[in-house]
């Protein structure tokens, strides 16, 4: 792939120079060019990430903006997810007289899948669109060019800091969302059965392994990175004025969500193969 993609892209560029309409098809050509450009974008991110000077202050500011300001929404969605999931699962388990399994079931669902996934989807909607729109409007109003001509590296200041921030903050939000979700679940269970919070969490965590927690964190980290890259890539290369800003914000969300589901599927497959062999 690493060899094939640049070769294909070079062929497409050459075809453009010779004024051929397309190599495979217009849409396919544009897709491969986009994939290649994202690959270059990520490569530049890692190059800039490890080269000084480091933008610590801006990273902290972005973490605050992305994390703190998403707390309300993440709290609400996490709480409702835990509460509603418990409420919906109860009748099925009650049929088998297995309501005592609720804490384990909810813990597995929330920690393995729901907390990172729901948090990432919320972050993609709130943070991804925000980054896409912010960078997009900076691009079309020449603020990014202004940074460039004032001898500042806009990629490092705007892109690297945001991607690092989303990569750090989304896993933290996922942990928080998981805790709130479990609490929501506890409230629903406690309303129906006599169970102490200690007994609830003991039952819940008995069914959770170290692999579940690590996998969940890896997923959330990858989701955060994806949201950052999609938002920054779309915003940083916005064209076509204010219309382009709207499009950048929109496609940042759509692409992030699409990739989050793909990543979820791939990671689950990989982790399940570990579980089987384990």
């Amino acid at each position: 792939m690493a060899f094939f993609l640049p070769l294909l892209v070079k062929t497409i560029y050459m075809a453009e120079k010779k004024e051929r309409e397309y190599v495979i098809s217009t849409k396919a050509d544009s897709f491969f060019l986009d994939v290649y450009n994202v690959w270059l974008f990520i490569k530049q991110f890692f190059k800039e990430l490890f080269s000084p000077p480091f933008e610590w202050k801006e990273i902290i500011r972005q973490c605050y903006n992305i994390g703190y300001r998403s707390l309300g929404l993440v709290s609400l969605t996490g709480f409702i997810t835990g509460l509603v999931f418990t409420k919906q699962s109860r009748p099925s388990l009650a049929e088998f007289g297995a309501t005592s399994w609720l804490p384990s079931l909810i813990a597995i669902a929330i920690i393995r899948a729901l907390a990172p996934l729901v948090t990432a989807l919320i972050a993609a909607g709130k943070v991804g669109s925000n980054i896409g729109a912010e960078l997009g409007s900076m691009r079309v109003t020449e603020q990014i060019d202004a940074m460039e001509v004032s001898a500042t590296n806009p990629f490092k200041f705007l892109v690297v800091t945001r991607i690092v921030a989303t990569t750090i903050v989304v896993p933290l939000l996922a942990i928080y969302s998981g805790c709130v979700g479990m609490f929501g679940s506890y409230l629903n269970i406690a309303a129906n059965e006599h169970i102490s919070i200690k007994a609830f969490f003991q039952a819940a965590f008995d069914s959770i392994s170290f692999l579940d927690i690590i996998t969940s964190m890896i997923k959330a980290t990858m989701f955060g990175f994806t949201i950052g890259v999609a938002g920054c890539f779309k915003g940083y290369y916005t064209t076509h004025g204010t219309q382009g800003v709207g499009r950048a914000a929109n496609s940042a969300v759509v692409i992030s969500m699409f990739l989050i589901f793909i990543e979820e599927m791939v990671i689950v497959q990989i982790v399940n193969s570990f579980r089987v062999t384990g």
């Binding site: 000077p53 409007s137 109003t141 020449e142 202004a146 460039e148 001509v149 004032s150 001898a151 500042t152």
Partner: protein
């Protein structure tokens, strides 16, 4: 019209361009542009919209790359510079954008501090504050230091945009349509500011405009860009006595009420 030319050193070209070409797809914007800008000189590049005036200065500052041709800025061949060398060179070039390009999320003070903090990391906060006050005084907007760009008028934003470039004390100033969208009185203030900057900061400048009043007041030399090439060069009178119909019509439209 400007008549003091004693500050211009014609032995030293700070910008030296030969055979510059730039295309966007099939649109050949620049087709062999030659230009020299001497130390201390204000050169006005005149031309209709879409003739590649802004492209020219964006190439000079390295925001766009030329397809062909030679561009030397302050003795450095642009095509030979790596990104670090280009950033060092940019510290000596001020670029005033058509829409000012002020950072919306920052106050005016923060906008001005931004290039200083990023490029002169050893400066003490007091020194940064002094520099900000100095340039704000130069543009006459000291009172706006805590305001946001959205709270300022178009003319004030232009001035702040110029102040932000001045804070790094550049050798070259590039102005992209400095008076576009401004009323005649504010335009005049900007024109005077451009001349003050030239005198106080000893800058050499390229001023991109299609406003002939601006050209007359700020330009030591004018160059008219048409069809991707300079078709006339000289002072205001020389250019408009060139006899070319296309230049004359440009003059007629600008001073239609005369």
């Amino acid at each position: 019209m400007k008549n003091l030319r004693t500050h211009i050193d014609t032995n030293e070209a700070v910008i030296h361009i030969r055979g510059l070409e730039k295309s966007f797809g099939n649109n050949h914007v620049l087709r062999g542009v030659d230009l020299d800008v001497y130390r201390g000189e204000n050169v006005v590049v005149l031309g209709r919209s879409g003739t590649g005036k802004s492209v020219l200065i964006k190439i000079i500052v390295g925001l766009l790359t030329a397809d062909n041709g030679y561009v030397e800025v302050l003795g450095k061949n642009l095509s030979k510079l790596d990104i670090v060398e280009l950033r060092e060179l940019r510290l000596r070039i001020g670029f005033s954008f058509q829409n000012s390009a002020l950072y919306d999320s920052m106050t005016i003070g923060e906008n001005l501090a931004f290039p200083l903090k990023r490029n002169k990391r050893n400066l003490a906060p007091k020194e940064i504050e002094n520099s900000i006050n100095e340039v704000l005084e130069e543009v006459g907007l000291l009172q706006t230091i805590n305001q946001r760009p959205s709270e300022l008028s178009g003319g004030q934003r232009k001035r702040i945009g110029i102040a932000r470039t001045l804070i790094l004390k550049p050798d070259i100033m590039l102005y992209d349509e400095p008076t576009a969208g401004l009323d005649p009185i504010t335009s005049m203030e900007i024109n005077n500011l451009i001349n003050e900057v030239q005198n106080d900061f000893h800058t050499s400048s390229i001023i991109i405009t299609h406003d002939l009043t601006c050209a007359k007041i700020t330009g030591d030399r004018l160059a008219v860009l048409l069809d991707g090439k300079f078709i006339a060069e000289g002072d205001f009178t020389e250019v408009f006595e060139h006899g070319d119909e296309r230049i004359q019509s440009f003059y007629d439209y600008n001073f239609i009420n005369d």
